[in-house]
């Protein structure tokens, strides 16, 4: 029997407690004196926004509400905030869609209430995945690839915004075109849009009343930029991680099953190996073709394996972490690197699946807490491929057989967490396993899942005892059979 325990999610609890902001009009406690958003376009869009705010009231001045339009909310995978000049981030809470304005609400808890008249600069960093789309949608092996990025020309905010700008940095100066709608143009203080080098600046724009309202339609204010892309756009369509703890082997085994896709424009016509080999030879290969991937594994990783549905992929190379000695030791542990070469170069639109696994010493990620008599285990939620969005991640952590008193602390709000029993080599009652499911992840989501648990000594001995008893039974049955005379005729 499988007992499935649906643990209540942190987010759900938070939503229940803080339900009211999404249904109430937000008090105009602040004014955005200056908002500068800088978007760095790469395989993902990295948005660095700075909100200079000034407090307008002495009440409700400890929480700053950030709002995103539906389009931006759909692509935003990670969001973090901090006050300029301060160390340490501020707590950002996703509250969901606002009932009236339909904008998506985030609450930034300020370190201390901001008294009326004082100002502060908030730095809000977010990562947008799948925020650009290829144009045209098809390209040959040799073509340059262009993508289009669209963004809200002016920020949605429940507060008045005095001045704002949007700066978009393309990866190359080759920006084919950019578009600013006439409605937005009218709001510009002087030149509505300026391109210099690889950067296009929209604005600054004139003062705006609160825009996160029912009456304001942000759609006519969206700007777009059509730029050349020379960075591969890989997407992890799904990632399944299984982490299995063994106390007998003092080992943590992690296995990742990846489904990846090259999100570059789809290959027009057919793949020509000849052209590929020639361009490879002449070092003129299109930058969006992905011939290899590299994965940073923990420093203690060993016994690495790499295979796919049809077997071992013989083209991978594993570089173990250098031995910590001398200068290297002072630098701290370095990562081991796994260079993977997919069976075929990934052209635009091509898929590939593979499985990577490795062993690592348990001491690197588990600690024995002597005070409470518990094990504390830290399992990374994912091992990110650099600058690659992960659409769906399922992580399963398998604890030793007989583990009790388990507490689980995921690094961020996961959509779903469940408990089940996993039965593997010579288990008698099975091992407790925890599944975490999350969507829309970025490389920033590589935090640790902390798990604490107790393992009684008897549980450690369970497996050898079971095997011993089974062998004894077999031997004694054989011994008895050997000594029973079963002939009929004497």
């Amino acid at each position: 029997m499988r007992t499935q325990l649906h643990l209540l999610l942190l987010a759900a609890v938070a939503a229940a407690v803080d339900l009211w902001p999404t249904h109430q009009r937000i008090a105009p406690s602040f004014v955005n004196t200056d908002v500068v958003r800088t978007v760095e376009l790469s395989s993902q869009a990295y948005v660095k926004a700075s909100y200079s705010i000034e407090s307008q009231s002495d009440v409700d001045n400890d929480v700053f509400y950030l709002t995103l339009s539906e389009e931006e909310e759909n692509v935003t995978g990670w969001i973090e905030a901090k006050a300029k000049g301060a160390t340490g981030g501020l707590e950002v809470k996703r509250l969901g869609q606002h009932a009236e304005s339909l904008a998506y609400l985030y609450a930034i808890k300020l370190a201390k209430p901001l008294p009326k008249g004082e100002s502060l600069t908030l730095l809000v960093d977010s990562v947008q995945s799948h925020a650009t789309y290829p144009k045209p949608a098809f390209a040959t092996q040799h073509d340059s690839h262009f993508r289009v990025y669209e963004a809200d020309g002016i920020v949605l905010s429940p507060y008045e915004t005095t001045s704002q700008r949007l700066r978009v940095k393309a990866p190359t100066p080759n920006v084919r075109s950019y578009h600013i709608p006439s409605a937005l143009e009218a709001l510009a203080k002087d030149e509505p849009a300026v391109k210099s080098g690889a950067t296009v600046t929209f604005g600054p724009f004139k003062s705006q009343p609160p825009t996160a309202t029912k009456d304001f339609d942000h759609k006519p204010y969206r700007v777009s930029i059509d730029f050349e892309m020379n960075i591969p756009a890989l997407t992890v369509v799904s990632l399944k991680r299984t982490a299995e703890v063994s106390h007998w082997g003092a080992n943590l085994n992690i296995q990742d099953e990846y489904v990846v896709r090259n999100d570059a424009p789809e290959l027009k016509g057919q793949f020509s190996r000849l052209d590929f080999q020639m361009s490879q030879h002449a070092r003129r290969m299109s930058p969006v073709i992905i011939p290899a991937l590299s994965l940073q594994l923990p420093s203690g990783a060993h016994s690495v394996y790499y295979f796919d549905i049809v077997g071992n992929v013989s083209t991978s190379a594993f570089r173990p972490a250098p031995k910590a000695a001398g200068r290297a030791a002072r630098l701290g542990p370095q990562n081991a690197q796994l260079d993977l070469k997919p069976r075929y170069p990934l052209m635009g639109g091509w898929n590939y699946t593979f499985t990577v696994g490795w062993d690592a010493p348990l001491g690197d990620s588990g600690r024995w807490d002597e005070v409470n008599g518990r094990w504390i285990l830290a399992v990374p939620f994912l091992t990110p491929l650099p600058a690659t969005p992960i659409d769906q991640a399922d992580v399963r952590i398998i604890l030793p057989e007989g583990a009790t008193d388990i507490t689980v602390h995921p690094p961020f709000d996961v959509a779903l967490m469940e408990r089940s029993t996993h039965i593997t080599y010579l288990d008698t009652i099975g091992r407790p396993a925890f599944d975490f499911h999350a969507q829309k992840l970025t490389e920033k989501h590589d935090g640790f899942i902390y798990i604490t648990y107790k393992v009684p000594t008897a549980a450690h001995l369970q497996k050898p005892l079971a095997v011993t008893v089974a062998s004894l039974i077999i031997f004694s049955v054989m011994w008895t059979l050997k000594r029973v005379d079963m002939t009929i005729k004497k």
Partner: protein
Amino acid sequence: MTVLKLPTFSPSTLTNAASLLRILALAAIAGAAISSRLFAVVNFESIIHEFDPWFNYRATRVLASQGFTEFWNWFDPTAWYPLGRVVGGTIYPGLMATSGVIYNILHALHLPVDIRNVCVLLAPGFSGLTAWATYMLTKELKDESAGLLAAIFIGIAPGYISRSVAGSYDNEAIAIFLLMITFYIWIRALKDGSVLYGTLAAVFYYYMVAAWGGYAFITNMIPLHAFVLLLMGRFSHRLYSAYSAWYAVGTLASMQVPFVGFQPVQTSEHMAALGVFGLLQLIAFVEIVRSYVASKQFQVMLRWFLVASGIAGGLAIVGLTITKTIAPWTGRFYSLWDTGYAKKYIPIIASVSEHQPTAWPAFFMDLHMLIFLFPAGVILCFKELREEHVFVIIYAVMASYFAGVMVRLMLTLTPVVCMAAAIALSSLLDTYLSVEEPARPDSNGVDETSAPGADVPAEVTVSKKKKKDVAAAAAAAAAHSAATTATKAKTKPSATYGIFGLDTRLVVIVNAIFMLVMFVLHCTWVTSSAYSSPSVVLASRRPDGSQNIIDDFREAYYWLRQNTPQDAVVMSWWDYGYQIAGMADRPTLVDNNTWNNTHIATVGKAMSSSEEVSYPILRKHDVDYILIIFGGLIGYSGDDINKFLWMVRIAQGVWPDEIKEPNYFTPRGEYKVDDQASEAMKNSLMYKMSYYRFNELFSGSPAFDRVRNQQLPREGPKLDYIEEAFTSENWIVRIYEVKKEDPLGRDLKTANAFDGGKKRKPSKPTSRRRALTA
């Protein structure tokens, strides 16, 4: 008299120690057999090899994941597109069932072993069991020590390893064990006259029928053995009960396998067993009557009875054959008698390399020293000629013949060679390891005590002479020792035959040990270098000696799997059908289950015709992709151009008017791909697909085909109806996509020319001008 004083132990100590040693030795032999088959896993990886195993693996996965009922009713719509294949009714399910049972047992014990690893390691595991079964059978023939020798021989003989390395997941993997255990139990049944053992033999026979088409070998070997025993006048009630039990239960059981069905009573291959069964009943009946009726009357009665039953039986068989109730011999069977038969009438069978006649070096390569110990062992069998020895002699004769006509049947020869060689070597060792010394004959005339060194040349001649004597005595002693052990008699105090002195013993024993060591080295070498390649993955050496893996097949199959629609139909030559189904998971037109010759010929025709002719065929069969193997770049000789003539021949068998083999040769009768290649060759789809854009790789200098060692024409082929879709890293696998019809309704060639900016050739105006002048 003894040459050496041996320490004495109590008899019970000796028996216990011997039995423990035997168990240890058998365990070690099984270990050696299994580990020598793991070269493929160590050198490459745990992967399914070759072609047929991929299908077995795929079927096993269905069995393991969906259960036996689903597997039994499995209709595979992706094979033989668009016909499909009723898999449950067209396979021998024994192999998959075995893996499925092992898989389920392991999982019930909470050992979650991957089904692939079960499949990969099945053959090595069963080779351990084969060694044990061979030990048991040889023990019946001679004694335990011969049994152990036979076990180690079969454990590491390349002839058997070639079909049972890890990953070689084919029917033969378990069939050889079943063959040996069935024969062993048959011998036991015959010795004891036991119905229980006869039934047990039938059960294992049933397992064999369910596992391998080669079960017909048992179906004919056991009746032949019984028949020969009858001819030798060795009819006994033991034979009667053993054979009747085996035949009745075994035949009924074998008919439960759907693929076999009613064949045991309807085809000529199985008639011998039925005939011997009938004959045994007659003779048993006659024996009973003889015991009740007086001798004179019996003679008369017997004559009439035999004549009548003979005529009746003969007429019945002839009648049934004429009315086609009994199917005549199949073509595959004929090709065993006439090696040229298949090439003439069933090219599809002849096109398989393992169906070719065996080359002489193959015998030495697969069996090494066993091949010359083998006749000695068979001759030693004649010395005693008990029933089981008769069996081995018949088996040796039959298997030798079959191994000679078909490479593949080397496999059935290997066990009997191992047994016979073990008997021979064990007899030799028995003689020379025995410490007993015969009484010195007085007539020898050699003064053993004469002073040494006095006359050196004389001594040399003496020792030569002595050696000759020794050699003569050895053969005799071998037989003698066999006889003594057979009767379980202790050695007599004064033997008349035997070996003198320690030195002669040493010479022979050291020699024997040397040969055994050479045998082990040879087996290891052959196994590691020749039989452990998965053939899905190729290995080559880099200049610095490190191993370079060529993984083009999996690269291309995986590309198909990941980047084409799930229902895209792939056409390839039938060799790759199972691999495409297993690795790429896409529908194929033809595969290694070559049941439909016309379908294969259709593919052959599409490959060997010009684009214009092939295109309608391709479109009618919904072909989306064509996959070919091309080795010209890196020199992989098993490619499609080298197999091309078989495609032509098989297509010619069905369309003799359209495809003609001579058209593909140069006027001088050579098979060429260069400038001199014939027009039919150059225009064939296969040629075009193989060399499409190949010369561009050589950037100006003429392209060179490394397999055929020929320079290609300067102008490469052009393709109008298909386009290149994928080419693997070393160009071994090339995949082409079949273009859809032109949306404007043009001929694809015209459309292509238009896209290329060429003007359509004015063809009409010339005739108009002619009309004007007329």
